[in-house]
Amino acid sequence: MRHAVTAAWVVFLFSIPLWMTDLYILHILISAGIFTIAAISLNLLLGYTGQLSLGHVAFFGIGAYTSALVSLGFDLELTDSYTFVFAPWPVWIAFIAGIAAAGLFGWLIGKIAFKVRGAYFVIVTISFAEVVRLISLNWVDLTEGPMALNNIPPFGVAIPGLWEQTFYQKLPNYYLILVVAIVCYIVVRRLVRSRAGRAMIGLRENEALASSVGVDVTRYLVLATVISAAMAGAAGGLYTHYIRIVDPDIFLFIYTVTMVIMVVTGGKGTTAGPVVGGLLFGILPEVLREFASPEVQWVIYGVFMIAVVFFLPQGIVPAVTSWWKARFAAPEGGLGTPEGAR
C-alpha cells in the first residue's frame, strides 16, 4: 500500500510537464524543488539530530559560488608577478566540486561548533553565514562582489561526437532537479534508518543516555552536518546553473528562515515533512504575490511560523498521519511518523 502511494507520487511528479505546459508554473515548481532539496538537507540536522542550523544558506551559497566559479574559471592575482589561473571545467564536475566544498565547510563548522551544544551551534552557524556573505561581497577579485557572476553555463548532457543537449530550457532542468530531490530523499531515508541514523535520533532524544551506551555523539553530529551541508551545496549548484547568475544576496538570512519554516511546518524529523513544507512554501509566495507586498508576505510568514509552533508543534505530516491512523488504523510505521518519536 505504502509503496503504491509512493510510486503514484513519483509518477505524478514526473508527469507534470506532460500536461502542464505553462512555463511560469514550471519555473515555480523548479524553484520550489530547489528549496525542497535544501529543506530536506536542513531536516537531517534540525529534525534528526535536533540541532538548529541557522546558517544553512551559507552551505547553499558556497555550493552555488563554487560550482559557478569552477565552471566559469577564474584568475587570482596572488602576488604582483604571479597570477593563479583556473581554467573552466565541465559543469558536472563543477557541481560535484560545489557539493564537496559545502561538505568541507560543514565538517569545519561541525568541528568548531559541536564543542558546545544548543544555543552555541545556532549562533555559530548564523555568524558563519554572515561572514561568508561579507566575503562574497568584499572579495571582488574572486566573486565580482555585488556585480555578480554572470553567464554561468547551464547543465548539459552529451554523447561525445554524436549528440548533445544543453539545459537552457525549463523542461530538462525540471527533471534534473526532480531526480536530485529523489536521490536526496532516499539518502536521508536510508541514513536515518541505519545504525548512524538511530545514533542521531538517540542523541536527539537523550544525549547523556546515548553517550552512556557508547554513541560517539560528536562524531555523528559532525557526520550529519557534513551530509546536510553537502546536500545544501547540491541545491545551490542546481540553483546557480539554472538561474545562471549568482550574487551575495544568495546568503540572505531570509532564505535560511524559509528553509526552517518549510521543515517546521511540514514536520521535522519526518522524511516527507520537508517535501510537503518545501512545496507548500515554494508555491505559496507566488499565490500571495497577487495580494500582498513582500514585507506583508514576510509578516505573514513570521506569524505563521509562530502559529505552527503554538498550534501544530509536530508539523503537518505527523498531524495528518495520526489523523489517518486514528481513522483507518493503518499499518504500523506510516510514512510520516517521526522516527523514534516517543
Binding site: 541557522l54 552555541y120 549562533i123 548564523i126 554572515e130 517546521v264 514576510w298 513570521g302 503554538f310
Partner: protein
C-alpha cells in the same frame, strides 16, 4: 601612534553600546533560557522611536531617548506576555523558533511602516569635535558613551543591591528553589525580558543619531550581541560587559589595519577563537548556563 590611540578611543565608545546590547541578551538567556532573536528588532525599534519623536513630533532629544526606552520596556513586556509566557517549560528550540518568527514579523513591520529608506536623526550637540591631544571625538559620541556607562552602572546596582536584583539572581541560580522561597518567577521573567529589551532599545536610541536608521540595522546588532555573549560566556553579565569592549576593539583594529569591508566579520573570528581555545567563554563562572 596617534592613529592607534584614536582607534582605542573609538573602540571604547563603540564598546559601551555593544556592552549594553550584550548585557540585555545575556540577562534574558541566563534567567529565562531564551535565545532572544528579537533583540536586534528592539534595537531597531529604539532607533525608530527616537526618529519618530525627534524628527516627526519635534520632542526634545534627551526626552526622546527616555521615551524610546520606556516604549522598549512596554514592547518587551508585551512579547514576553504573549509569546513566551505560554511556552514556559517548552524546550529551547521551540522558543527559538517562535522568536525567529517574531523577528521576521517585526522587521518587516518596520520596513512596512518606515519604508526601506535610511533615515538620519538630528542631535543637539556641536559638530566641532572634542580634541584631546592628538585624538578627537565628536560630542554626540561622548554623550552616547557616558549614557551607556550610566546604564551599565544602573544595571549592576539593580542586580546586586536591590530586592528585585536578589530575586533575579535567585531565579538565575535555581528557578524551582527560588519559586519555593516565594519569588514570583513569572513576574521576574516578564521584568527580565522587559529590562533586557529596554537596554536593547537604549542602544538603538543612542546609536541611531550616530549612524542612520534602517529596518535591517537590527540584524547586525543581534549578531554582534550574540558574539559578545558567546565571548563572555552565556549568562555572564561581567562577561558581556567585557565582551562588548573586546568586540569594539577587535572591530576598530580590524577595520583600521586589515580591511574595513571585514569590520563586521570580526565578531565571528572572535567566536571561533573562543570556541577553539576556551569554549565556555572568557568568564566561565560556575553560574554559567548552557
Amino acid at each position: 601612534m596617534p592613529e592607534f590611540l584614536q582607534h582605542l578611543l573609538n573602540a571604547l565608545i563603540l564598546g559601551g553600546t555593544y556592552a549594553l546590547l550584550g548585557i540585555g541578551l545575556t540577562l534574558i538567556f541566563g534567567i529565562m533560557r531564551v535565545v532572544n532573536f528579537t533583540h536586534g528588532e528592539l534595537y531597531t525599534f529604539g532607533a525608530y522611536m527616537v526618529f519618530f519623536f525627534v524628527m516627526v513630533l519635534g520632542v526634545n532629544f534627551f526626552a526622546s531617548i527616555l521615551l524610546a526606552m520606556a516604549l522598549g520596556v512596554a514592547l518587551g513586556a508585551l512579547i514576553e506576555f504573549v509569546l513566551l509566557r505560554p511556552l514556559r517549560g517548552a524546550d529551547i528550540d521551540t522558543t527559538m523558533l517562535v522568536m525567529i518568527g517574531a523577528w521576521i514579523a517585526m522587521q518587516n513591520l518596520e520596513q512596512f511602516t518606515w519604508t526601506g529608506i535610511a533615515k538620519s536623526i538630528d542631535h543637539p550637540f556641536p559638530l566641532d569635535p572634542l580634541v584631546i591631544g592628538e585624538v578627537s571625538v565628536s560630542w554626540v559620541r561622548v554623550f552616547v558613551f557616558a549614557f551607556a556607562v550610566l546604564l551599565i552602572a544602573v544595571t549592576y546596582l539593580l542586580i546586586h543591591w536591590t530586592r528585585l536584583g536578589k530575586a533575579m539572581r535567585a531565579t538565575f541560580q535555581d528557578r524551582e528553589t527560588a519559586a519555593l522561597m516565594g519569588v514570583n518567577v513569572k513576574g521576574i521573567h516578564t521584568l527580565t525580558f522587559a529590562f533586557g529589551s529596554c537596554l536593547a532599545a537604549a542602544a538603538g536610541a543612542l546609536l541611531g543619531p550616530v549612524f542612520v536608521v534602517a529596518p535591517t540595522i537590527g540584524d547586525l546588532a543581534a549578531l554582534k550581541a550574540f558574539a559578545i555573549v558567546i565571548l563572555g560566556g552565556l549568562g555572564s553579565i561581567p562577561g558581556a560587559t567585557l565582551g562588548g569592549f573586546v568586540l569594539g576593539l577587535a572591530e576598530e583594529l580590524g577595520a583600521g589595519y586589515v580591511s574595513s569591508g571585514y569590520r563586521d566579520a570580526m565578531g565571528f573570528l572572535l567566536i571561533i577563537l573562543v570556541l577553539v581555545f576556551k569554549p565556555t567563554g572568557l568568564f566561565a563562572a560556575k553560574e554559567r548556563i548552557g
